[in-house]
């Protein structure tokens, strides 16, 4: 244990390094005091069919959620249709099953898209195209829709959202999605850098933010190379960060990231619009910190993490729910997580003050230290070579694997303390509180699979073939835009799986990434 004093912040210059909230370099917050609104309170949701998920969203909004956060099931995330044999065991069990325009229309049915923000953990181009068409279908002006989608092309194959597409195609899709939104959906954050999913295998805060910044920098450079002005897209970049249990480190990480982002955008990329400099940061609290033993302890963990992030001044919070270790969030867990946010917002006083840690010798010193370490790590990675080459050579994959292995070692050795796991354990026979919820399950949505299969046979074959051929053709031409043919594809009743296959074919790859796997049912 140690303590901090004035000697630890001797180099700190208020105007240069902190600034008031809402002032460059935005260390203390992206906005000046705004007493009218709290952070966006939302929970990761989606289960079964689009209509079932729609019911789940409406239930959360009725319970006070101020935003919706959609995640697709494993097949949707991998751009595999629900009627694919690899998907049969999981359709709808880890998120919503989405593959066609009608699904998006059903998902947002009677959702107040003019009043709430809709955030998405979905494949960006397919999500944006589906949302755009569905919003229009429901009578909304897509240009007014607020929300976000994760768009993280560099690391997706390595850490959980693999779509079996090559680097070049993934980056093109990301750039095309952002370019589309600059024109068509200017209020929508089409570039959410998701450092949560990069890091929740076990990376530390420095690796998390360094990899995040490396991706933001690469995508920014590529967009500028395309001729876009930095101020046309930078206001709609957001970062979805992780939050583990070391709350001071996590708060300092958010503060350091805001400062680094502002300086980078102004000094390196020449941004001048204040909205390009003040980055929007949201958080998804760490699922890795949630334990299967003594699950009730996870309620406490979620509360500590959410409180830390409220004090860090993030724009939105999603708490990993207490049942994280054994299932996709159930209804009870969703409500507990939402209530946790509401208790923090309504009862603790954190909503009355911006950046309560500002000026703390410890936090300011830690913010400086993290800024240095993250900056050094970014420079170290960028010195190694072209990002595309590093990605294809497995360099990033090795960082992620090392992180996972290091985390496992730290838990096994007891170096990283986890109550109920490697300290303060309890005999399984006594560890019964909330345990019954782990036995509550729902089956893969076979009715939805059948619905999709039946519907596929009713489509107009020529129209569909034409739309898919156009996607393959566009993929072959490195200069062609991929968003327009995807939107046309949805309107011609093409599915995400079919369109992803058409893109792969355009790159000379196998249409079905699992074609070699024998799956008997």
């Amino acid at each position: 244990m140690r303590w901090y004093g004035p000697q630890d912040t001797t180099g700190l210059d208020y105007a240069r390094d902190l600034g008031d909230p809402g002032e460059y370099p935005y260390t203390r917050g992206r906005r000046p005091i705004d007493t009218t609104s709290s952070w966006i309170q939302r929970e990761l949701s989606g289960e079964g069919s689009p209509s079932r998920s729609n019911g789940q969203f409406r239930g959360l909004i009725a319970a006070g959620a101020t935003g919706v956060d959609v995640i697709g099931d494993t097949a949707t995330m991998a751009l595999i249709d629900p009627d694919h044999s690899m998907a049969a065991a999981s359709v709808g069990t880890t998120g919503v099953s989405l593959c066609r325009l009608a699904d998006y229309i059903e998902l947002y049915d009677e959702m107040p898209l003019d009043r709430i923000t809709v955030s998405h953990s979905l494949n960006a181009p397919f999500c944006v195209a589906g949302l755009n068409l569905a919003a229009r279908h429901h009578g909304y002006d897509a240009a007014q829709v607020r929300g976000s989608v994760i768009n993280a092309p560099i690391y997706s194959e390595d850490c959980g959202y693999a779509t079996h597409m090559p680097y070049d195609l993934r980056v093109r899709l990301a750039l095309d999605t952002i370019t589309f939104c600059v024109k068509e959906m200017p209020k929508f954050h089409s570039f959410v850098e998701d450092t949560y999913y990069i890091s929740d295998g076990g990376l530390d805060v420095v690796e998390e933010m360094a990899l995040g910044f490396v991706e933001i920098r690469e995508v920014t450079r590529r967009l500028i190379e395309r001729g876009l002005s930095v101020d046309s897209f930078a206001p709609r970049i957001a970062i979805l960060v992780n939050c583990r249990m070391d709350l001071f480190e996590e708060v300092a990480k958010v503060r350091a990231s805001r400062r680094m982002y502002a300086r980078m955008m102004r000094e390196e990329y020449g941004a001048t619009d204040p909205r390009s400099l003040a980055v929007n940061i949201s958080v998804h609290t760490s699922g890795l910190t949630m334990t299967a033993p003594q699950p009730v302890n996870n309620v406490v963990r979620g509360a500590v993490q959410a409180l830390a992030m409220a004090m860090a001044g993030v724009q939105a919070i999603e708490i990993s729910t207490f049942d994280e270790a054994f299932r996709t969030p159930g209804h009870e867990a969703h409500i507990v997580a939402l209530r946790t946010q509401q208790v923090i917002a309504e009862e603790t006083g954190v909503s009355k003050v911006v950046d309560p840690f500002g000026g703390s010798w410890f936090i300011e010193s830690l913010t400086d230290e993290l800024e240095d370490r993250i900056s050094n790590k970014i420079a170290e990675i960028e010195r190694k070579g072209e990002i595309s080459v590093l990605a294809e050579d497995g360099y990033f994959r090795s960082i992620l694997n090392d992180g996972m292995s290091r985390h496992a070692r730290a838990i096994q050795s007891g170096e990283l303390r986890q109550v109920g796991v490697n300290c303060h354990t309890m005999p399984p026979a006594e560890d019964t509180l909330l345990r019954d919820l782990s036995e509550s399950r729902f089956a893969p949505d076979t009715a939805h699979i059948a619905r999709i299969r039946d519907w596929k046979s009713t489509r107009h074959p020529d129209r569909l073939a034409h739309a898919l051929a156009a996607i393959s053709q566009a993929a072959k031409d490195p200069e062609a835009d991929l968003m327009a043919p995807i939107i046309d594809g949805y309107q011609a009743d093409a599915t995400q799986g079919e369109m992803a296959s058409a893109l792969r074919l355009g790159y000379g790859l196998a249409a079905d990434p699992f074609a070699g796997k024998v799956v008997r049912r």
């Binding site: 693999a162 560890d431 796997k517």
Partner: protein, 126 residues
Amino acid sequence: MKVRIVVGIIGLDQHEVGAIAIARLLTLHGFEVIYLGRFQTPQSMIAAAVDEGAQVVGASCHSWEFISFAPELAALAKQEGVAVVLGGSVITPGDAVRLRRAGIDAVFGPLVTERQIIDEITRLVA
């Protein structure tokens, strides 16, 4: 001779932390791990075990897909004379009973200790 064990994740689930942790633990305890990673099927796991002369196949489970693939995995393993184990935080005590009945040789839920995992796998290949 070292015991050889194939480790992978079956289906579309992309959570890999558990599989990497268990592969590391087994290696530390002297097992030879053939790590297959994500997107496996019962067939691909068993085929790898046969190719590599492994005595055990282990699937890491972080989604409910195991409920569907376990019977086939057990049947194929039996056919090839390979032991089969499943582990993961999503596996409940109720699952453990059902999985053993379905022919899975050992099942490790979230409350199991490292010692129990090592001892159980060692016993399976003895």
